[in-house]
């Protein structure tokens, strides 16, 4: 019977840090991540939609509350977020949020949003803010819940094989490190090429037969020094 692997105890207040430690622990144990499924994915590209933009403009044009308006509300009938929150303990709050997200209907809507280009960050913000407005959590717990909710949304996106945005429209965003790596690689190749060309004494006679078209090679041999002279070479005065 396959036994569960003994794990190194990892504990952190920062989820990202805990994830890093767990993955590195797995690496130390010799686990190979190359077996992970990597089938083609659906691109969750943000699509420009005029209707949605018009709706947003219509909502915005209705105007917001007048400064101080909240102070005129009846104190006997407070808004839900003005009352003590249902969950003061972040663990209990997170349990409630995550269990509501892991419902089939909610998962379906999340997938549809991700496919339509909504970012994980925006969705997470909407979810935790809605919980605050409902009076379920206080602002502190709302902030603490952001990171775990983002990770859960990402996992749902991964399970559905969606290439999703994390923040805004960053699906095509180049990773700075990757760009730097490619630049360095290019520079190296260029240097090698440059030094190689300079070192070798390339003459038409040394070119292997078949490497260049014979007609072209004959023309080069005929032209000889004219071609070998650089265009930038100092001409005879």
């Amino acid at each position: 019977m396959a036994q569960k692997r003994d794990l190194r105890p990892v504990l952190s207040k920062d989820l990202t840090n805990a994830v890093e430690q767990v993955i590195l622990d797995a690496a130390d144990s010799g686990i190979n991540l190359d077996d992970i499924d990597d089938s083609p994915r659906i691109r969750g590209k943000l699509r420009k939609d005029d209707t949605a933009l018009n709706n947003l403009v219509a909502i915005k044009s209705q105007g917001g509350p007048i400064p101080g308006q909240s102070l005129t509300n009846d104190p006997e009938q407070p808004y839900p977020w003005e009352t003590p929150p249902e969950f003061a303990n972040p663990r209990e709050a997170l349990n409630d949020i995550l269990s509501s997200l892991l419902q089939p209907d909610a998962v379906k809507e999340i997938i549809n949003s991700l496919v339509n280009g909504a970012s994980v960050g925006d969705l997470a913000m909407a979810i935790v803010y809605a919980k605050f407005v409902e009076g379920k959590i206080n602002p502190d717990v709302m902030m603490l819940s952001m990171e775990p909710v983002m990770y859960l949304l990402m996992a749902i996106g991964e399970e559905a094989n969606i290439e999703y945005n994390i923040d805004n429209d960053d699906i095509d965003e180049e990773d700075e490190e990757e760009v730097q790596e490619k630049l360095d690689e290019f520079k190296n190749v260029f240097q090698e090429l440059k030094s190689g060309v300079m070192d070798k004494d390339i003459k038409p006679e040394k070119i292997k037969e078949g490497a260049v078209d014979k007609g072209l090679l004959d023309r080069v041999k005929e032209a000889g020094p004219q071609i070998r002279e650089s265009l930038l070479a100092k001409g005879e005065e």
Binding site: E20, I23, D38, M125, E158
Partner: protein, 291 residues
């Protein structure tokens, strides 16, 4: 909402940091595989494996798996969405091939658990040599009733307690019992078989055999006892405090053990994660103290 946006940016930066850190270890790992690993490990740590449970060992048959597949028609109807492959068909087997690998190293799942028991492999684990027993082979999910083994007749008598096992498991257990009592029973049985003493000895031998087999089975079922820390002795010597690995983890994170429920922490030492990994942790029978 700017303060929430800051958290989003922090998480994104953190993911990139993990990526560059992990890339140093897994040199040729593709970016998409890396992101998948990070996302699933994160979700498993957050939910204590509940997310994986919700998706199901065989995703296609779970409720959320059904929801994923049901979304397919809607998504295919969106203009501009082109399918290079069949993403949701893959979803059904994902935990068995890709994400399952991630949850395996987290200890949330095991490969055997995800893919189902392979009986043929397990049967092959039964020790081929007489007198050897591989306790792994007993865990077939079937039941076999064994009360005692009579070494003189070589028969197993039924009734009594039930242990997980099968015919092969019983056979292995029988051989183990034979080995355990070879010295005691053979001599006693041949010389005094007709006498009362002989009968008594046979019962003792049978009892020993049963105890050995039962003890081995029960140890396998119950596992090893919890380790108990030792405190250094000596006059005037300051007592050392034996910390469990869990206490060490909390001490390093600066969290008081008495306050862990109200602190939001993440990781493999987090009580939420441990509760799901060791499901029986919070379901242990309690004993009332006599008073």
């Amino acid at each position: 909402m700017g303060f929430l946006k800051k958290i989003v940016k922090k998480v994104k930066k953190g993911i990139k940091k993990i990526g560059s850190g992990v890339k140093k270890v897994f040199k040729k790992l593709k970016k998409s595989k890396l992101l998948k690993t990070i996302a699933i490990v994160g979700a498993a740590l957050v939910t204590g494996g509940a997310a994986v449970g919700a998706f199901g060992g065989s995703l296609a048959s779970s409720t959320i798996g059904q929801a994923l597949i049901a979304s397919k028609n809607f998504i295919m109807g969106i203009p501009g969405v082109s399918f290079v492959a069949k993403p949701f068909e893959y979803a059904g087997t994902m935990l068995g091939t890709g994400a399952g690998k991630v949850t395996d190293f987290l200890g949330v799942t095991t490969e055997a658990g995800r893919l189902g028991p392979d009986l043929a492999t397990q049967l092959a684990n039964v020790g081929p040599t007489a007198g050897q027993i591989n306790m792994d082979a007993m865990n077939f999910g079937q039941t076999a009733e064994i009360t005692s083994y009579d070494p003189l007749t070589g028969q197993l008598t039924g009734g009594g307690f039930t242990v997980p096992g099968s015919a092969a498991g019983q056979e292995a257990m029988k051989k183990a019992a034979e080995t355990a009592i070879t010295g005691a029973s053979t001599g006693a049985a041949t010389s005094t078989a007709a006498s009362t003493v002989g009968s008594f000895a046979r019962e003792v031998a049978t009892g020993v055999a049963t105890s050995v087999a039962t003890g081995a089975a029960m140890q396998y079922i119950q596992g090893e006892p919890d380790p108990v820390g030792a405190v250094g002795a000596g006059l005037g010597e300051e007592r050392g405090i034996s910390l469990t690995p869990l206490e060490v983890a909390y001490a390093q994170s600066g969290v008081d053990m008495r306050d862990i429920y109200s602190q939001l922490t993440f990781g493999t030492a987090d009580p939420g994660f441990l509760a799901s990994r060791y499901g029986d942790l919070y379901q242990q029978p309690t004993f009332s103290l006599g008073g």
